[in-house]
Every structure is written in C-alpha cells, then in structure tokens.
C-alpha cells in the first residue's frame, strides 16, 4: 500500500508532465545550455573546437537567474492554488497527515523541475560538452548547483505559498522575491551602496544572504579552478584570499544547503500549524 506521501508526489509529477510545462522548461534549459550561437555556427559549419569553453561561463550567468524564476513561479502557487480551489482542504480531509501532503507536494515539484533540468541540460551535455572531460566536469558542477538552487527557490516559494491568501497574491510575491534576489543583486545595487557607504565588510554576508549569489559564486569558483579559467568577482576573490578555495567552496555549498533546509522547515512548520481553509 503506497503511502499518501508517495501518491501525492506522484500526482504532482504527473500533473507537471500533463500540463507540459516540464517539457517546455526542459526545451528552454536545452537551448540555454547549447547556446543559440551553437545552432548558427554549426549550421554554417564554422563551429570552433573550443566552443563549449567559450560558452560555459555564459551558461552560468544565464542559467542562474532563470532557475529560481521557474522554481519560484511554480512553488509559490503550489499550496495557495490548491487552497483557493478547495482541493487542499479535501485532500487534508483524507487519512493523510499534513506533513505527508506537504512533503508530497514539495518533492513532486522538486523532482519535476530537476527532471526538466536533467533533460534539457543533460541532452546539451551529451551533444556538446561530453567531448571534453574538462567541459563535462564544469558542466556537471553547474548542473548540480542549479539543482540545489532550484531546491532552495522551491523552499522559499513554499514559504510564500503557505503564507499567501490566494494564487495571484502568491505568484506576485514569488516574482517579487525573484526580482529582489536576481535583478536587484545582479545590477550591483547593494554592492554599490556597500562601496559608497564603505560597508565592504557586509558584502560577504550579503552574498551568503542570497542563494542566487551563492550559486553564481560557487559556479564561477569551480570554473576559475578549472583549466578553462574565468574571472572571479570581488566577493569571491576576497573569500578565496581569506578562507582559501576549498573552505570557501565548502562554506558556500553548506550555505546553499541551508537555503534549502531552513525555508523548507519554516514553511512546513507554518503549514502544520495552519488551519486548512
């Protein structure tokens, strides 16, 4: 007899297949990883041998913002959407615990988005990056961190979802959080403030306080460590000098893991205490 947790997880996954968003995201990830120039250059028969090395760093800067957008948009409506239609209440009226329902929904979404990334990035890896072990390894690191980032974004999205009153409200909040984490940080807004106000000591905590920045820094550090090389930003350079490369990677990976666990724990606690509405 399957547990309600597995049944709900399976349904979430099946729904994502049925609604075809999983396929569209996989296609998006595929073209993102491949790079549009690949198609043009390959079509023209002028694809350079080191093409993967040329685009792998671009991949980081393109993929890192996209992954949380998809994950936040999907997860922020996961609980709130079902709450709005009443299906959540009916599900909780069955012999299933709140945690079984919650984790079933979380992991169902997590598996779906991970699969979309594996399909999209994996196919691109086979087509382009597998030709060279260095490219392949860097690509795999990128994939691993993207998967962790998507898990963190889903966790944050679940906090939004359990706290939001309706689907639209939840989606709006989810997109706003993405804007805050990606756009505001990316344009260096906070960095500029820190420099202008001479608050450099806050740059590291500010990086750690943003899972997108943690992922970006991690990916770039692996790239810089590899024969492909690459430029590190001021924060990563500072961390490298202070802690050393290995410790920095360990710290960043641990912080990214905490970004998965802590919001997930918070949302689970809230959901458990909440009335089913």
């Amino acid at each position: 007899m399957p547990s309600p947790f597995l049944v709900i997880m399976k349904k979430e996954f099946r729904d994502s297949l049925k609604s075809r968003w999983l396929i569209s995201f996989a296609v998006t990830f595929f073209f993102l990883a491949l790079g549009v120039p690949y198609i043009i250059l390959r079509g023209g028969g002028v694809l350079p041998e080191d093409y993967p090395g040329m685009v792998v760093s671009t991949l980081v800067s393109l993929s890192v913002p996209l992954v949380p957008l998809i994950a936040l948009a999907m997860s922020s409506t996961s609980v709130s959407g079902e709450r709005e239609t009443g299906t959540l209440e009916f599900l909780l009226a069955q012999p299933a615990s709140k945690m079984e329902v919650f984790l079933g929904k979380y992991l169902g979404l997590e598996v779906s988005i991970t699969l979309a990334m594996l399909l999209g990035y994996g196919t691109a890896e086979l087509l382009v990056y597998s030709s060279n072990p260095v490219f392949a390894l860097q690509f795999l690191y990128g994939l691993l961190y993207s998967m962790m980032l998507s898990a963190a974004a889903i966790s944050i999205g679940f906090v939004v979802s359990v706290l939001s009153k309706g689907r639209v409200n939840a989606q709006g909040t989810g997109i706003f959080i993405w804007f805050l984490l990606v756009i505001i940080y990316d344009i260096g807004f906070l960095g500029v403030i820190a420099v202008v106000l001479n608050l450099n000591q806050y740059l590291v905590p500010m990086t750690l306080a943003n899972p997108v920045e943690v992922t970006r820094t991690l990916s770039l550090m692996h790239l810089a460590k590899s024969p492909l090389g690459g430029e590190l930003g001021p924060v990563a350079t500072y961390m490298n000098r202070t802690w050393g490369q290995e410790l920095t990677i360990t710290v960043l990976t641990s912080v990214l893991s905490l970004w998965i666990i802590i919001p997930l724990g918070i949302s689970a606690l809230i959901f458990r205490k909440q009335d089913a509405r």
Binding site: M1, P2, P4, V7, I8, K11, D15, K18, S19, T85, G86, T87, E89, F90, L91, L92, A93, Q94, P95, A96, S97, K273, D275, A276
Partner: protein, 305 residues
C-alpha cells in the same frame, strides 16, 4: 467499533475574538443520522471541520474512540467527507479522480465501478471533471467519500447547489446509505433534507447548541404551524368547518372563497382526507409549511432575547 461514532467535549474554535464554536458537547451514536441546522455563521461547517481535524480547536473530539487531535490521520480513516462546494481537480477524469483518492486512502480500485454505478456516473468514467454538471460533481464527491466504505459520513450542505430533481436523487442515495447503517452527520438549510433523512436535529446558533429534536418537535416547541388553504366546490358550511376542526385544524377563516386553517404540519393530509370522505369535493388546495428560516429566526430571537 465504538457505540459512539463522534464524541465532542467542550469544543471551542475561536477566530480572534469571535467564537465560531462555543463549548459544544455532543455525542453522536453509531448508525445515527444527525442534521446540524442553524443560520449562516452558526458554526455548523466549522464544527464539521473540527471533527475532521482540518482546523485547530480547544476541547476534545474523538471519532470511533480515536482522538482527532492526537491521531487525526487514523480518525479520518473512519470518515468520508463531502464539502459544500465540489473540490475536485479539474484537469483529470472521473476515473483518475477516484483512483487518486483510492490511492491516498490505500483502497483497491475494485470498488470504483460499483461506486460509479451507485452514484449514476458509470457512463462518465472517462469524462474530465470539468465536463460534469454541479450535480454530477456532487455525486462524484460522494463516490470519493465512499471509496473506503467509511462508517461515518460528514456532509456539508450536500444538496445546497442542486436543483429540486437532483436534490431528490441525492437524498435517495443518502437514504440508501443510511439503510446500510452508516452514521451520517449533515448540515443543511433545506427542510426536505431534514424531514426525509432524520428525526434527529441539532440546532446551532453562534457556535452553541440551542435546541434538539425532530422537525415536528421543534415546530411544536416553537409553535410553528402549517397553513392549509382549501377551495371546495360548494359553500364552506359549518359542517365542513367542524370536520376540519375535528381533524386537527384550528383558527379557521375564509379568504376570497378559500378556507384557511392552521394546523400541525403532519395533520394536513388527515384534514383533506376527512373532507373528501365526508363527500366534499376539493377543487384546489395550497399548503404553507413553516420553514427552517422561520424556525431559526424564532429560535435565535428567543436565545438572543
């Protein structure tokens, strides 16, 4: 199985300063059929949600002897629930819906066909839920609630969104289930639901239990009567009036050629039969039954006073 299906002790559900359920203590026997009545906001639905453990509350509720607060999942194994508004996943088919909830409840699929036949949806198994009418969705909800053959059914306004014909069909399904010995607790605003399904009514107002009994007992307690309008072919003689009085009618008046008699709701048919047996030809008649709204107003008015 416990002889008490639901045992609620001093149940309180508070939203801010508002008490939706205010110290309810109720025992519902196994096999009993209970209607929860009351005006909007009386706490009927909230109480059902407390029984299911869907919302937190103070006090104790046990289902078949199992505490809802401590072992909600186990307690819900004994319960089938039909909410007021069908809450179904729209993108999947009727069969898929039933298979999903059968999986959640850990029940084999074998019963699905039988249940679809029972609720009259056997030809709709492959149809998407979106294609179903409101009445069909309500019947699908009932089939879902019956998947694991639970001994207790909680129904929240099960006929509220249905037209008269569908209401009758739904009541007939419920009557079959009651005949099978299931414990049924339902909320309703529709008098027909109550009179056809049970003589055991609990009236709630402002979260408190304010009256119990059958429809007739409540109507009598509240002095609510039916008004019978009779149009006879011939002049309404004193003899006709006497027959009406002897059959339970009172306060007889005449309005535009109609005899108007006040009577207990269950005496109406007797009055008409007595007139017919005495040789009077009844051209037409109308009945003005007391309704639940009037009863609620009277009850809550008295309580508030």
């Amino acid at each position: 199985m416990s002889s008490v299906a639901i045992e609620a002790k001093n149940v309180i559900k508070q939203y801010g300063s508002f008490r939706a359920v205010d110290g309810l203590t109720i025992d519902i026997e196994t096999g009993g059929v209970v209607a929860l009545l009351g005006p909007n906001g009386a706490g009927k639905t909230t109480f059902l949600k407390c029984i299911l453990g869907l919302i937190g509350f103070r006090g104790d509720i046990s289902v078949n002897g199992i505490s809802v607060q401590d072992h909600g999942k186990e307690a819900r194994r004994f319960v089938g629930y039909v909410p007021q508004n069908p809450s179904l996943y729209e993108g999947i088919s009727v069969n898929e819906t039933l298979r999903f909830y059968a999986d959640v409840r850990g029940t084999p699929y074998g019963k699905i066909r039988e249940l679809l036949e029972f609720v009259g949806l056997d030809l709709w198994g492959r149809a998407k839920v979106t294609a179903l009418s409101m009445g069909m969705k309500q019947r699908l909800m009932l089939a879902t609630a019956l998947l694991a053959d639970p001994p207790l059914l909680l129904l929240d306004e099960p006929t509220a969104n249905l037209d008269i014909r569908r209401q009758l069909e739904f009541r007939s399904l419920l009557n079959t289930l009651i005949g099978q010995g299931k414990t049924v607790v339902f909320t309703t605003h529709i008098l027909g639901d109550v009179t056809e399904l049970t003589r055991n009514i609990l009236v709630l107002n402002k979260g408190k239990l304010i009256a119990t009994g059958s429809v007739e007992q409540l109507m009598k307690q509240l002095d609510l009567n039916a008004h019978l309008y009779i149009n006879l072919e011939e002049f309404a003689s004193q003899k006709a009036r006497d027959i009406i009085v002897n059959s339970g009618g009172r306060d007889i008046t005449e309005e535009n050629g109609w005899i108007v008699a006040t009577c207990d709701p269950e005496k109406k048919l007797g009055i008409l039969n007595s007139l017919r047996d005495a040789g009077y030809k009844i051209k037409d008649f109308k009945v003005e039954d007391p309704n639940l709204e009037t009863a609620f107003l009277r009850l809550t008015g008295e309580t508030n006073a």
